[in-house]
């Protein structure tokens, strides 16, 4: 893809980002207009401050960050496995992380410091444990098998999901928690969530951008990458760590949100080609914008009640994805 085309795509994405932020701020169950927003910016009052800043803005930004994280995590995993099927959900990270978070919740571990709660730690820990397990199991006599890895990931993810459902079924008194952990929601988004996920996203984003060239080498095969001066094993480990960190931090603030981590990076790859230096960046922005719009739909499509966001991402994403795949063939 030419540079000009890439710039055009990116400007379009940024335009959509601001459009998304604008509609997310102005539209909601309480009727507000641009004038209200302007008045609030000029001389703020408490009611509007809470609606605009603490409900709508924090929610839109969190949706963006989660979308960007999931999508970047997916982009890394797809490059890593050289397989378009890969994604945080497929390799078991999401399910693992959600199991950890629910476990912390049910054990009553409500301790937190600087916005990081034990729940986040548990989510990351169990997400990482699942990935490590899958990684170890798919290595036989030092030889790494891609398809074993994906299949093990699917199986381990299914196991983690069933354990999560078990915990929710037996220990939770409300159905709301089941919906949250299995379908995802931004209903309770607040600035504390952003404080958790923002630094993690920035760190992982910078790292992946810095290592994007190495990812391009890895795609050519381990021997070639090694001979071109990339230390294959270390790079692989770092990428796996980054994608796990991204996916599990997303899950710990918003539950499991399917599809974003699978279709967005794939779509971006179809649009701009396989160069990871651009792929990582564009996937992040596109994933963020996509999820921000999905969340906007989730909370406005039926006034007075909310849809779990997983319903929207799949309903919007799946048909579009099938269309894209068909076109390519």
């Amino acid at each position: 893809m030419s540079k000009q085309k890439r710039t055009r795509l990116l400007s379009l994405l940024f335009l959509l980002l601001f459009a998304g932020l604008y509609v997310s701020l102005v539209k909601g169950s309480v009727k507000t207009s641009f004038v209200d927003l302007w008045n609030f910016l000029v001389h703020s009052d408490q009611t509007h401050a809470q609606i605009f800043m603490h409900l709508r803005l924090s929610r839109a930004l969190l949706a963006f960050l989660v979308g960007a994280s999931l999508s970047l995590s997916g982009a890394i995993l797809q490059g890593y496995f050289q397989n378009p099927m890969a994604g945080p959900f497929v390799v078991g990270v999401s399910s693992g992380a959600s199991f950890g978070a629910v476990l912390a919740l049910i054990l009553g571990l409500n301790i937190s410091f600087w916005g990081f709660s034990l729940q986040n730690v548990f989510a990351f820990g169990s997400g990482f444990a699942i990935v490590s397990l899958v990684y170890i199991l798919s290595q036989k006599r030092g030889i790494f098998k891609m398809e074993t890895l994906l299949l093990t990931g699917i199986a381990a993810g299914a196991l983690a999901s069933s354990l999560t459902s078990f915990l929710i079924f037996f220990k939770s008194e409300s159905f709301e928690q089941a919906v949250f952990w299995l379908l995802g929601s931004f209903q309770l988004a607040d600035w504390n969530h952003i404080r958790v996920i923002f630094p993690i996203f920035v760190l992982c984003f910078l790292m992946s951008q810095w290592l994007a060239k190495d990812m391009n080498l890895l795609v050519m095969g381990d021997e070639i990458a090694q001979s071109l001066g990339c230390s294959v094993n270390r790079t692989r480990k770092i990428f796996l760590l980054l994608s796990t960190l991204l996916a599990s931090s997303s899950v710990s603030v918003s539950g499991i949100i399917g599809f974003v981590g699978l279709i967005i990076p794939h779509w971006v790859r179809l649009l701009i080609g396989p160069d990871h230096r651009y792929l990582f960046f564009t996937s992040s922005i596109m994933g963020g914008v996509f999820l921000m719009f999905c969340d906007f739909l989730a909370r406005t499509i039926f006034s007075g009640s909310e849809l779990p966001i997983g319903i929207i991402t799949a309903a919007v994403g799946a048909p579009f994805f099938i269309y894209l795949l068909n076109q390519r063939r």
Binding site: T47, Q50, E173, E176, L188, D190, N192, S305
Partner: protein, 305 residues
């Protein structure tokens, strides 16, 4: 001398200010069931109820004009339906709640904890009630709502009145010796039932019946069909929104579910309980209790006094 006088006046003033009679209820504070402190200032004028039973209690306390928001499930009394809707019990519309500028939000057990914490974090005055699972606990629920809305007298009257109703029913059951086995069917055709941590269980117990699922320590779960046949209940109580739904479930029990062998089905001891009435720990739950008592022990109610 003058200085001394001034000093005395000042001390007197200070004394008066500190006197509880003068500072009034301003300094009084109570704790809600989650342990949050709630300061009783001026009586709340803009109340939002987050649960149907809370709405019913507020109306029964005569606070109709001070309620500004209810959930979409708050359908009783009819006037509640014309109040602002602030979403459901688990999917509250936080924006709307903020825009209504409430000075008191009353939450109940069905509202998820995370949601309540989110409301807290928005600096909204929320008071959380958990209540127990017994009929008696409804009295303390009403009293606490009376306390926080500062209508203690109305609450006391209501509790006295309901207490008399309860006593009447209990008196009727005083000499009952039998304990019929009861299966409670909570919802539709899935054999969902109540274990021993529930209002339903307590009501059946108080009505001198035996809940066959009573040994399970869970508020609700799906009962095993074999177990149901084995326990062979004398009565089946079906909770339903309307009579039509009840009849559906009733035919299901007798035909599709192959539970013909059960005593209750054979003797046609399958009864309808209006879901809203039975499941809301509010003033009407005593009416529900009376219905259950009548179903289980009709002979005790034959001679009306």
């Amino acid at each position: 001398m003058k200085i001394k006088l001034k000093f005395t006046v000042l001390t007197l003033c200070l004394l008066f200010l500190h006197n509880p009679v003068f500072s009034g209820s301003q300094s009084l504070s109570i704790k809600d069931d989650l342990g949050y402190t709630h300061v009783l200032g001026t009586p709340p004028q803009r109340i939002i109820s987050l649960a149907p039973n809370v709405t019913e209690i507020l109306f029964a306390l005569g606070l109709e004009n001070r309620i500004i928001g209810v959930t979409r499930y708050c359908n009783y009394p009819t006037k509640a339906q014309s109040k602002n809707r602030i979403g459901g019990m688990v999917d509250l519309d936080l924006e709307k709640i903020i825009a209504l500028r409430p000075d008191l939000i009353i939450a109940f057990r069905g509202n998820p904890l995370r949601l309540i914490q989110r409301i807290k974090s928005l600096d909204l005055p929320v008071f959380v009630l958990e209540s127990g699972t017994t009929l008696e606990s409804v009295f303390s629920l009403i009293k606490r709502i009376g306390l926080v809305t500062q209508s203690d007298n109305a609450a006391k009257d209501l509790v006295d009145h309901l207490g008399k109703d309860l006593k009447k029913i209990r008196d009727r059951l005083k000499n009952v010796r039998t304990r019929p086995k009861v299966f409670i069917n909570l919802h539709g055709k899935g054999l969902w039932t109540s274990g021993n941590n529930s209002f339903m269980n307590d009501m059946v117990k108080e009505a001198k019946g035996r809940n066959i699922a009573g040994e399970v320590t869970r508020a609700w779960f799906s009962y095993n069909r074999e177990e149901l046949i084995h326990k062979n209940p004398d009565h089946i109580l079906i909770l339903a929104k309307a009579k039509k739904d009840f009849l559906d479930v009733k035919t299901w029990f007798a035909q599709e579910a192959h539970l013909e062998s059960i005593q209750a089905v054979q003797k046609d001891n399958i009864s309808f309980l209006e879901e809203d009435l039975v499941t809301r720990p509010g003033p009407r739950i005593f009416e529900a209790f009376g219905q259950i008592a009548r179903i289980l022990h009709p002979s005790s109610f034959e001679v009306e006094r």
